[in-house]
């Protein structure tokens, strides 16, 4: 629902509310509690994360950390885990592309082909997510398991070697990512496709555009805000995810999230963990801003 | 004084932009007053200042002698019928209509609501929701919701704008009937000159945040005060000339495009030498030769360039020697045949139907409606 709201907000620039006279303090009072909460528990932690990433790497949780402005933590962390970073970005990019390919027809079908079943299908997109995502991911583990019917069928069809498997491969991890973040693609796409006037497509047809060129020249450009919002909402969480790699993959498929998780919670190497976390945030923000600039939809921010 | 609504030097600015500019206006108690002007001229802003939804940047609004300029909307004995009706979607028709009474603490609202719904002929619709009604019905609910409070002034912001032509005509008559019945002052905003003229006792023509002219509809139409009014309310042929101060007896003697014409001094609003000579298209008569010009009439000659048959009349364009196209409406009364394009004609008019207006230096003839808004 809120994802649809995000998509809906991307179409046009938000109209400015009217200036209310008097009581200039009222808006500040209204936003104080939530603003304070976000400053204290979102912004301040990021500052602390930055600080932690510069702690003396030889310290430990029990002996305490000293602030030594050890910028060297960054190149060190990057050097040790650059492949995990690249894998995360690669997996997330592939998953996002597949989500777009799968999500577009679904969103289009709901918006323009579903008739009075529109609401039912829309709920259908969200409904699977009412079940805990860990449970769903574990269900995929069952579906993809070596002696499950899917693998058996693929082996019979020789699409998979006799001892080929799905589980514990990059394919399984990427499929898990696609599965988990598909609704984040579909809902914004739906929001912008829904506003697409069918008559525009008819007009394009009337002006000698075939279905394919109508799609490229009219439908797709008009749904760009949804495409941008959807790809971002898919790519960002997919990059940071480590559940799919953990449950459907092996350490060979581990993403940067797995590393951060174990650095913080298992190895207790806080400076390095913080440096990795901060790097991840920087990379994601960089990708987001460049992408948004490129696609010319700044108002999404 | 009694219950008159009075705006004194009211100005409203939005940042650097002035929407309403030093406006002074009196609406007598019980009047059906129309505020007429093109879209964006400041009509809604004026209404909103009366309703209390917008605070004037300067000036004063009084009602029956009481200053209401700074009162909140709910403190004023004024109600509004909004442009898009603004019916509460989550409340039934009955609750929409009862809303004001309930806020004023009236205990038993049912009889009044019933009476009001029957006044607007929606007796059996009380249980419905706004979206289950047609546009015309919603409009009448909006009216009932405001009227039930017996405001001293009812403000109507283009209340018929969203209705189709036939329904609009019907509602115009209906509104007029209701106003006569309840005797409340109506301030009716519209951009439709025909609507303003058929409904109102007094029309104020607004342009660019100012009142250009105020008066009875016939008065304004027959003797417009400015070139804007002459071409906003209906259409006028305005010929550029000089001699606005050249008085001889009861007449003014003016020169336009090398010819001399006279106009009764009482029909002149000229304050300087540069003038427009104005004649409405239906006041122009076409004759085939100068010999046929009725006595006392004035005339000039030209060539018919276009004629369009519109049923009750035929509208001609006549090109003068100096290449201005005059509009002439000839009634299809069955007398006289039609004139083909290319025909040489003489255009004649009674000087008592002409009028003189001030003209800005350098301004030329103006013979077309400024705004084509006849729905």
């Amino acid at each position: 629902m809120s994802v649809a709201a995000i998509g809906a907000g991307t179409g046009s620039k938000q109209n400015e509310p009217p200036q209310k006279t008097g009581r200039a303090w009222l808006p500040y009072l209204l936003l104080l509690p939530a603003g304070l909460w976000l400053l204290l528990f979102f912004a301040l932690p990021l500052v602390q994360l930055g600080a932690t990433s510069l702690y003396d790497p030889t310290g430990s949780l029990s002996t305490g950390y000293a602030m030594t402005w050890s910028f060297g933590n960054y190149p060190e962390a990057l050097d040790a885990y650059k492949w995990h970073f690249l894998r995360s970005l690669g997996y997330a990019a592939v998953a996002t592309a597949i989500c777009l390919l799968l999500g577009y027809p679904l969103a289009y079908a709901i918006a323009h082909r579903a008739g009075r079943w529109k609401n039912v299908l829309l709920v259908g997109v969200i409904a699977p997510f009412f079940t805990s995502f860990l449970i769903r991911t574990l269900a995929w583990k069952t579906i993809l398991s070596d002696n499950g019917p899917l693998v058996e069928a693929l082996r019979t069809l020789h699409l998979l070697g006799a001892d080929g498997r799905l589980l514990a491969t990059p394919t399984a991890v990427i499929m898990g990512l696609v599965y988990n973040f598909l609704p984040f693609m579909v809902l914004p796409l739906y929001a912008s496709l829904e506003r697409l006037d069918q008559r525009l497509l008819e007009a394009a047809g009337d002006l000698y555009a075939g279905p394919v060129s109508t799609f490229w020249k009219v439908t797709l450009p008009l749904s760009m805000p949804g495409v941008v919002a959807g790809t971002l909402l898919t790519f960002i969480p997919a990059t940071g995810d480590y559940i799919n790699a953990e449950l459907l993959g092996t350490p060979r498929e581990y993403m940067i999230g797995n590393v951060i998780d174990s650095a913080f919670l298992v190895r207790l190497d806080y400076p390095q963990a913080a440096a990795l976390s901060f790097l991840l945030m920087a990379v994601v923000l960089l990708v987001v801003f460049v992408y948004v600039r490129r696609s010319g939809t700044e108002e999404i921010l | 004084m009694s219950g008159d609504l009075r705006l004194t030097n009211v100005t409203k600015s939005f940042g650097p932009f002035t929407a309403v500019d030093d406006l002074t206006l009196t609406v007598p108690q019980g009047a059906f007053f129309a505020l007429l002007g093109a879209s964006g001229c400041g009509k809604t802003t004026t209404l909103r200042m009366v309703a209390g939804l917008e605070e004037p940047s300067a000036g004063q609004v009084t009602l029956g002698g009481t200053d209401i300029t700074r009162l909140r909307p709910y403190q004023r004995p004024v109600n509004t019928v909004f442009q898009s009706y603004a019916l509460f979607p989550h409340l039934s028709i009955t609750e929409n209509v009862a809303f004001g009474l309930r806020r004023k603490g009236v205990k038993n609202v049912a009889p009044q609501v019933e009476q009001m719904l029957s006044l607007v002929q929606l007796d059996d619709f009380g249980g419905r929701r706004p979206h289950q009604l047609s546009g015309g019905q919603q409009q009448r609910v909006a009216l009932a919701r405001a009227l039930i409070n017996h405001p001293q002034v009812l403000l109507l912001d283009e209340p018929l704008g969203a209705l189709d032509l036939k329904l609009r005509r019907q509602m115009q008559i209906e509104l007029k009937r209701i106003q006569t019945e309840v005797g409340i002052t109506f301030v009716h905003v519209t951009h439709d000159q025909e609507e303003a003229m058929t409904m109102a006792d007094t029309v104020a023509v607004m342009n660019d945040g100012r009142i250009e002219q105020l008066g009875a509809p016939a008065e304004i139409y027959e003797f417009p005060a400015t070139p804007f009014v002459a071409n906003f309310l209906g259409q006028s042929n305005l010929l550029a000339g000089t001699g606005g101060l050249a008085r001889s007896g009861d007449d003014l003697s003016i020169t336009a495009h090398g010819s001399r014409f006279t106009v009764p001094a009482a029909r002149s609003r000229a304050t300087g030498d540069k003038i427009y000579l104005g004649v409405r298209p239906e006041k122009l008569h076409l004759v085939t030769s100068e010999a046929d010009v009725p006595s006392g009439f004035q005339h000039l000659t030209g060539t018919v360039t276009d004629s369009s048959y519109v049923g009750v009349s035929t509208q001609y364009l006549v090109r003068t020697a100096w290449d201005t196209e005059l509009s002439v409406f000839a009634p299809n009364s069955g007398l006289g045949g039609s004139l083909p394009p290319g025909a040489e004609v003489t255009v004649a008019w009674n000087p008592a139907h002409a009028f003189l207006l001030d003209r800005l230096d350098g301004a030329g003839d103006a013979t077309h409606a400024l705004v084509e808004e006849r729905a």
Binding site: A34, L134, L182 | N79
Partner: protein, 257 residues
């Protein structure tokens, strides 16, 4: 046929989304052959008859519900207030506020979870129930603001003006017109917050200390072998949520009729 291929593709994608749900529902009736086996072995109703078999699982579910209710309540109130500020007022710092709302939605969960952990550790805060609530409110607030703000933006300001014109003061206008009209947005935001909080694993994992929520329980069990009752809970969650949606839709239809 060309008209239909989009619809057919769409329905196939939808089927893909539902596939794990069918599996979860089926496994909820499974009597597994061994603790670590995820394959369907034998049909049984035992899991449904005895959902709290593994004792600590139901504790975890209860704790998750508690946390989700608290986080939803706080996030909905705070987020709604902020949505009003953003949608209804012009003030200095609007852009900064919008950025503050947007950032948590654009930041990977691991980063939020780990940074909060860094803060709690640096501040000597002991991890547990309340640190989880604090974290959940933090990531729910943005979604509430966005949802309620969208609803407010769609609200015609003329309706509130009409109410004031009809003798309703500021407060009356608020609770008779504004609040009822924005309510569906607030309810949607609350439901969303609840499901986000109930289902959160990553951020919780960093900040829960020894407190075990339901996702934490499932995660831990995944290493040891999942009791089939987990699938009962998963199926029940799905059914309850679908029921809520259907009930909401029926109420909507009733109102419209």
């Amino acid at each position: 046929m060309r008209r239909h291929w989009v619809l057919v593709t769409g329905l196939l994608v939808l089927l893909y989304l539902f596939l794990p749900i069918f599996v979860v529902a089926a496994l909820s009736f499974n009597e597994p052959s061994s603790r670590l086996s995820y394959d369907f072995h034998r049909f049984t109703l035992d899991n449904w008859a005895n959902p709290c078999g593994p004792g600590d699982m139901c504790d975890a579910v209860g704790r998750s519900i508690e946390i989700a209710l608290l986080a939803t309540l706080i996030a909905t109130v705070l987020g709604t207030l902020m949505a009003f500020a953003l949608a209804r007022h012009r003030f200095r710092g609007r852009d900064a506020t919008n950025l503050l709302i947007f950032m948590p939605m654009a930041t990977p969960e691991v980063v939020m979870g780990s940074s909060l952990l860094a803060l709690f550790v640096a501040g000597g805060v002991s991890l547990g129930f309340w640190t989880v609530v604090v974290a959940h409110v933090m990531f729910c607030v943005s979604f509430v603001v966005v949802t309620v703000k969208a609803r407010l933006a769609g609200l015609d300001p003329r309706l509130e003006e009409a109410a004031m014109d009809l003798y309703a003061g500021e407060w009356q206008t608020f609770y008779r017109i504004t609040l009822p009209l924005v309510a569906p947005g607030i309810v949607a935001a609350a439901l969303l917050s609840f499901s986000l909080s109930f289902d959160d694993f990553i951020i919780t994992n960093f900040n829960s200390g020894t407190t075990v929520t339901f996702p934490m329980y499932v995660w831990g069990a995944a290493q040891r072998g999942i009791p089939p009752q987990v699938n009962v809970i998963g199926t029940a969650m799905f059914l309850i949520a679908v029921l809520i949606v259907v009930a909401g839709e029926i109420i909507n239809r009733r109102r419209a009729a």
